[in-house]
Each structure stands twice: as C-alpha cells, then as structure tokens.
C-alpha cells in the first residue's frame, strides 16, 4: 500500500500556511523566546503581540492569574508600537521563515486604519483586527460587541488595508454569528475566534481582585467548549476561512476545532504548560491524517455531523 504524505497546508485568504497551527496573538511575543526551542518556520503562522500605533506600557501588575483549567490576563496591550515592530521585529521574524500575522488594536477607527495602511507596505503576511478593544468615541464599549460598530470598523480598515484582513471576534457577545456575518459582509477575508472571555478572580486573603486591572481575559481549556460552539455557529453562517482558538492544547483539540469548522487553529495558553504544544499538535495532526488515510487536513474542516 502506497502512503502519500498528507497535505497539511492551509490557504488563509490567499496566504499559504505550511500547516494549520498558528500561535495566538499576545501569547508568543514576537517569537524570540519560543524560537529558541524550535525553528519558527515550523509553525503555520505567528500572530504577533497586539500592536498599537504608539508604544504602550500596558497595565500595572499583577497581570496574570491562574483559574481552573485556564488563566486570566490583563497585559493591557504592552507593545513597542507599530513602527518599532516594523523596524525591529518584522525583518527578524521574516528572516526566520515565518508567516506573520500582525494583530492590531486601537481605541479609534482612525488608529486602526493608520496601522493597517502602514503595515500594508511591509512584509507582514496578514493583518488581524483585534476588535475586543474599547472604542473611546463610543463611551468605551468594545468595537466587537455590536454589528453596527463591527461593520463600521471592518469597512474602514478594509479600505485602508492592502493585505488580507482577518477580523478577530470577541466572545463577550450575545450572538457571535451575527457579528461574524457583519464582519464578512463588510470586508473580512477571514475570521479568527475566540478572543478571551471577561473574567475576575478575588484573593480572599486580601479581599482584592488578583489582577490590578480588576478584570481580565479568560483563556485556556476551560473556554474550549465555548470556542468550539462559537466556531460551529459561525461556520454555519460564513464561508471565509476561520482560525479557531480558545483552549486548544492537544492535536485532539485541534481536530475538534477543525471539525467544528475552523480551517486552522491557534494555540496560546497551552504553551505555558508545554512550550512545544504547537509543534506537537502539528505532528499529531499529521499522524492522525496518516492513520486515517486522509490526503488533506482540510477534509476535516466543518466535517462534524450534527444531530
């Protein structure tokens, strides 16, 4: 019996990823740390730490807290700003052979557009719009929480952007599918989901929130059932590529996410227990496909048979 190597590549809005395993924005820095363990080119893509127009110092510590099967973070988008990224991080990242997803964040539509425009002239492969940020002109309500504001920001950034555009959805909404449709209708070439769920932990000894920011974003295996459900709901309504994330820690989790409708998965929190989680997932996927005689990982996408 002839065995051909299964095809692990994924096409996300015209960009080919060597495999469907991406690192989740903000969890992997700019690749310099985990890059000491394995070549960054082994990853499908790297979504870099969320970038803002200007340098941001981020929030006061503590910024992280453990929770049952998960963690909270309130890093507050500490980053060197988009120019420093282009100058100091991007060339190095591209030299490692990585597909680079620039995750951008802002507090006004203008900021997002300025960043998208600036990044369009660089070697960045894709732009990921983080719409979980508060819109200061709309009283601080997150951009990602209403169809109207998702439509507005997506359309504006789409106009300013000459790279494939991924819109990253916030799970803190009543109807994720409706938001997804809004994003796609207004120019999203792909979607990623989920960002973190808003959570809180209180230290009963001090009676203070563990995070200096009081609340933070919940991620890790605890949220996986929510992420899988949202990916499935969104896949039922859109046909653009989806990068699924939220608690993916093993190749089995990745298969689950692909079956739900994701074309690729991102791995974040799982890296902290096992820095090799990402590359192990890719290996696990390959072996799974081989075991099942499947030619292409994309055969799994959305293949769940609902009852």
């Amino acid at each position: 019996m002839m065995m051909t190597t299964p095809n692990l590549t994924v096409n996300i809005a015209g960009v080919t990823l060597a495999n469907p395993v991406v690192t989740a924005s903000g969890t992997f820095g700019f690749g310099r740390e985990y890059g000491t363990l394995y070549p960054l080119s082994e990853l499908g893509a790297i979504a870099v730490k969320g970038l803002t127009l200007k340098e941001r110092p981020g929030n006061a510590p503590p910024r992280v807290a453990e929770t049952p099967a998960g963690m909270l973070n309130s890093v507050g988008l500490q980053n060197p700003g988009v120019e420093a990224f282009i100058r100091e991080e991007l060339p190095w990242l591209k030299a490692q052979g990585a597909v680079v997803i620039a995750n951008i964040a802002g507090n006004t539509i203008e900021d997002y557009c300025a960043m998208a425009e600036r990044l369009s002239d660089t070697a960045v492969d894709l732009i990921e719009l983080n719409i979980s940020c508060p819109n200061v002109k709309a009283g601080g309500v997150a951009f990602g929480t209403s169809c109207a504001s998702v439509a507005a920001i997506t359309a504006a950034v789409r106009g300013a952007c000459r790279k494939p555009l991924i819109v990253k959805l916030s799970p803190n909404v009543t109807d994720i599918a409706e938001i997804a449709v809004s994003a796609v209708d207004h120019g999203a070439d792909a979607l990623s989901l989920i960002n973190t769920l808003l959570g809180m932990r209180i230290d009963i000894a001090t009676r203070r929130p563990v995070l200096a920011n009081n609340v933070g974003g919940l991620s890790g295996p605890a949220v996986r059932p929510i992420a899988v459900r949202m990916v499935w709901q969104v896949r039922g309504r859109v046909s653009v590529p989806i990068i699924g994330m939220g608690g993916v820690a093993t190749w089995e989790d990745a298969v689950e996410m692909l079956l739900a409708g994701a074309n690729a998965v991102a791995v974040g929190t799982a890296l902290y227990a096992d820095p090799f989680a990402s590359v192990k997932i890719t290996r696990g996927l390959r072996e799974y496909l081989e075991r099942h005689g499947m030619a292409d990982v994309q055969e799994l996408v959305g293949a769940v048979q609902a009852h």
């Binding site: 969890t27 740390e33 890059g35 981020g58 006061a60 503590p62 500490q78 902290y272 096992d274 090799f276």
Partner: protein, 271 residues
Amino acid sequence: MGRLILRGERCDNGLAMSFTVTTCPLVEARAPRADLADFTVRCPEIARAARPGQFIMVRCGDFTLRRPISICDADGDLVRFVFEVRGTGTAWLAERTVGDALDILGPQGNGFTLGDTSRPAVFVGGGIGIFPLLHACKPFGARAAVLLGFRTAGLISMVEDFQAAGADVRLATDDGTAGHHGLVTDLLRARCDAGAVDAIFACGPKPMLRATAAIAEEREIPCQLSLEQRMACGVGACLGCAQKIRRPDGTETYAHVCSDGPVFEASVVVW
C-alpha cells in the same frame, strides 16, 4: 553599574537567551518542615547553564501554569530548589517522591551579577527569599555576610547550608524567638556600619527589599534585588510579569521579571 536590561538579553541570532524544557528525575526530596520541600533533580542541561539568581518553571500536574522557583544551588548535574507550600500547585509538587519525573523549564532569567567575589558582600534574605542566595553567596566564601530574616524561629531553615558555604550568618526574627529581635534590615545597617561593603544582594518580601534599597542608596552601595511577580510563560513571551522600572533617561516603563529580571539593580526599581 546601572545595568538595565529590557526584553531580556539576546543572542547574536536575535533569539532570547536559551532555556531547556526537560523531564528529569527527582533524586533527593527532603521536608525540613511540613510545609517546606527541599528537592534535588538530576538535570545536566540546567545545572550546567544555571547562574546564581536564575530560576526554573516547574510544571505541576495538570495546572495551567508552571510555578516559578529559584535555583537554590546547582552542582555538577544536580539542581536544588527549596519551596514553601503556598497553594495548590506547590502542594501537588511537595507530594512528589524520589524517582518521580519532574517537567522543568530553565534556567531562566537574569540572575545576580556577582562582580568581584574577592571583596566583601552582604546577602539579605527574608522568608522564601533566602533560597536563591545560597548559589550566589558561595563564590564569596567567608567574604559573604548572610543576613536572614524570619517571622519566627520555627521558620528558620538553610542556616547550615550557608555556614557550610563559609558565610558569616546572622539571624533576625520578627518575634525575637531567635537572633536579633527585629528586622533583618537592622542587621544590614549594623553590618554596613561595621565595615566596608562592596555589594548588597537581596531577595525577600517587598517591604524588606524596599528598605534594603533605601539603605543601599543612602550609603551608595551597589545593590541588586531579586523580585517576584505572578508569571504565565516565564520566558518573556506573554508580558505577564510586569515590574515598573526607571529608564536611564528618567522615564518609567514596565520591564519583565522573568526575562529582564528577576534580579534588578535596586536603583531602577519603581516601587
């Protein structure tokens, strides 16, 4: 002096300082107290690379996050670390027994810059902050004054280890049940009064570190502090372990305890 490292040290190839993730056997496990574990693992990669003041990230069962624990000593193929049972993760860890395999990441962080070890130095430790000082004080032999503060006599540990390293060990307890009745920083002041001190190295609770920094500044003695912060990745990737510091130009920013620290020059720390 004035060493200020941001985004950790970097290698020529643009990568962060390398670390290892490895499974290694627990070869010695002692419990000096019910809530204290003194572990030694056989881990050549980490033992050989470890510099004083660095730490490891220990995986604890199925917990989402590894636990940061200082390297107490590294000798040949062996790495020793000592930790108090504080919560669920350290409780799990303390139950491991000789022969169990531990999943350890390290060595990590920028440790102490020891400088000229032929000159007298003072090591100031409080509570669980005393453990990393052993590795650091050894090269100083008898030139190390090791000042250890505890809440009460029952919590004293590691004194013989410091003495075996040749150090002059002085104790202080908050309740006067052993050594000086008062703060370890009283001992520091006395030691500085008594003779020349070229460097101070300290690790312990924040108030102790702050007082140490004040004494050092007042007397113009170079001082390095090992800080703690809640961590997720432990390697510089998540930006979780922020510590506010002052840049040479006077502006403030957040550095990261796991990669820029855990050891910082006292003068750059913004309290």
